[in-house]
């Protein structure tokens, strides 16, 4: 039985990594199609010379950093605020906060586009960097609320009071004690925001306007031409980056766990 499970797990992992293997292999292909023509690094060279792709990468990172930082601040404060509401008001707030998470991306994207176009006509601005940033903050912040809220609920309220008794003012107590207690939730929220922002295609697609490009938009235009080996090289590099990030986080967790084990 155990052996059967192992084979099954291996099959699923094979299924999940087969496409990854494909683009890694073909990123080294000298030919333009999916027929193997020999080893070459020319698609990687091409990739780094492509100013548009590099520019799109930069835009993606800038948006992801700014959006996730603002979403984290907004969402953390919101979680504290919402936690102090009770009854009906609290339920309404939580439900509204969940709308961007539960409603389909297409609908969120289209509704924001509608608003930005109308407001844009009234105030003479075009969709671009700012509208994408606003949209990203809007769909990231609810994830921060979701990941911080359970932390607040389980927080020991008396440590905040202790900080006040020991002479902290409200803000100091908040900065030194509350934030520290909520940190794991805040960090998870930040990480979720950052990755969702990096990965988003649909909402960016509807709010980007005519000329602003992020990496996923660039990938969209590239894949629409069906054959484009630069995409393979790009995917292989992105995969490598993700593996490095995940392994680092995992090792850090393990390290932290060991440290905690020593203290207790």
């Amino acid at each position: 039985m155990k052996k059967l499970y192992k084979i099954y797990t291996a099959l699923i992992i094979f299924f999940m990594y087969m496409p990854v293997a494909v683009f890694i292999i073909f990123s080294f292909n000298d030919g333009k199609t999916s027929v193997w023509k020999g080893f070459s690094l020319r698609w990687y060279a091409n990739l780094f010379q492509d100013k548009l792709i590099m520019n799109a990468l930069w835009n993606t990172l800038i948006i992801a950093v700014i959006a996730s930082v603002i979403a984290t601040i907004l969402g953390t404060l919101a979680a504290i605020g919402i936690n102090n509401f009770s009854g009906r008001k609290r339920i309404i707030l939580l439900n509204v906060s969940n709308i961007p998470i539960l409603s389909p991306d297409v609908v969120t994207g289209v509704s924001l586009m509608l608003m930005f176009t109308i407001v844009g006509v009234a105030f003479h601005f075009q969709m671009g960097f700012w509208t994408v940033l606003l949209a990203h903050i809007s769909f990231c912040a609810p994830y921060v609320v979701l990941s911080v809220l359970p932390r607040i609920r389980h927080m020991d309220y008396s440590i905040y009071e202790a900080a006040l008794d020991l002479g902290c003012n409200q803000f100091q107590a908040f900065g030194k004690v509350v934030i520290h207690e909520l940190m794991p939730g805040i960090f998870t929220g930040f990480l979720m925001s950052f990755t969702y922002s990096l990965d988003d295609f649909v909402i960016t697609y509807f709010t980007k306007g005519a000329s602003f490009q992020t990496l996923s938009i660039k990938i969209y235009t590239m894949t629409h031409q069906r054959i484009n080996p630069k995409v393979n090289a790009l995917s292989a590099l992105m995969f490598l980056a993700i593996v490095i990030i995940m392994v680092t986080i995992n090792l850090k967790d393990r390290h932290d766990e060991k440290k905690r084990g020593v203290i207790h």
Binding site: M18, L102, V107, V110, L114, A173, M246, V247
Partner: protein, 264 residues
């Protein structure tokens, strides 16, 4: 710290970037081009009933396959030792962080004529069109969303006390009835949140069908995308119907479990 004030910026943000855009969608759905009240957009939207039903059907099949594939895997994972569990979780999460267009594009490469799978099948004398049909679309969906089913299932199952399973064994239950009477009822919250996380995005996805399906396989997300650029009224009506349908689905699903499961 009974303060509600920190929540105010977020509440204002949600009103401006979530509720007002929805009001715009509502307004456009119930008006015609001149801005007068009309049901015209809905009449036009009903012309896409077949696409709508097909999207729901494809999403349903994909969700079901994901559930069937993920359930044994999640169960197996949850019974392993902790370090192996963490490693497997990471392995399953890594492809999820890849850009979704890249993952779909990799399947285009895999399935195309003279692509790797076609060549492999060719050795066995099998020649079929792998790309451009509903099967390919469902395959793409399952691939895309399988981790979203595995992870919530696994999280819930990891919390099941193995003592309960041993107790069931000791009390004479065979494997099957242990699964049916102990593991399954305890895993219901995981099933609900997994189904939500797979069904909602797959019912509303766009591009997957354009990349992997034939001309007759386009889904409701693709229709919204196509129409919105020219006819925002009909586009809004379809988006509204989609959103309402998904919320009804979530409400029905919630009858089967507690509300927190979906939020978590």
């Amino acid at each position: 710290m009974r303060l509600k004030r920190p929540g105010i910026p977020y509440i204002i943000w949600m009103v401006v970037f979530t509720l007002i855009p929805i009001v715009f969608i509502l307004f456009y759905a119930f008006t015609d081009r001149s801005g007068a009240f009309s049901f015209q957009a809905f009449f036009k939207a009903f012309g896409y009933t077949d696409v709508f039903l097909r999207s729901i059907w494809i999403a349903f099949i994909s969700t079901f396959i994901c559930l069937v594939l993920a359930y044994p895997l999640a169960y197996f994972m949850s019974r392993l030792k902790q370090s192996t569990q963490n490693l497997l979780t990471m392995i399953i999460m890594i492809p999820m962080w890849m850009n979704f267009l890249l993952r779909i594009y990799a399947w285009v490469t895999l399935l195309q004529n003279n692509g790797p799978i076609d060549t492999l099948l060719g050795f066995f004398g099998i020649h079929t069109q792998l790309l451009g049909n509903q099967g390919a679309v469902i395959l793409g969906m399952v691939y895309e969303y399988l981790p979203f089913m595995v992870l919530p299932l696994y999280t819930v199952m990891a919390k099941i006390d193995s003592g309960l399973i041993e107790a069931a064994d000791d009390l004479g239950a065979n494997r099957l009835s242990t699964l049916r009477k102990v593991v399954f009822p305890l895993s219901v919250p995981g099933i609900i949140s997994g189904v939500t996380m797979v069904f909602v995005p797959s019912a509303s996805t766009f591009l997957v069908a354009q990349y992997l399906g034939g001309t007759g396989d386009i889904m409701i997300g693709d229709v919204i995308d196509k129409i919105f650029w020219s006819d925002q009224n009909t586009g809004s009506a379809i988006a509204l119907i989609l959103m309402v349908a998904i919320f009804i689905f979530l409400v029905i699903l919630n009858f089967f479990g507690d509300e927190e499961a979906i939020a978590a």
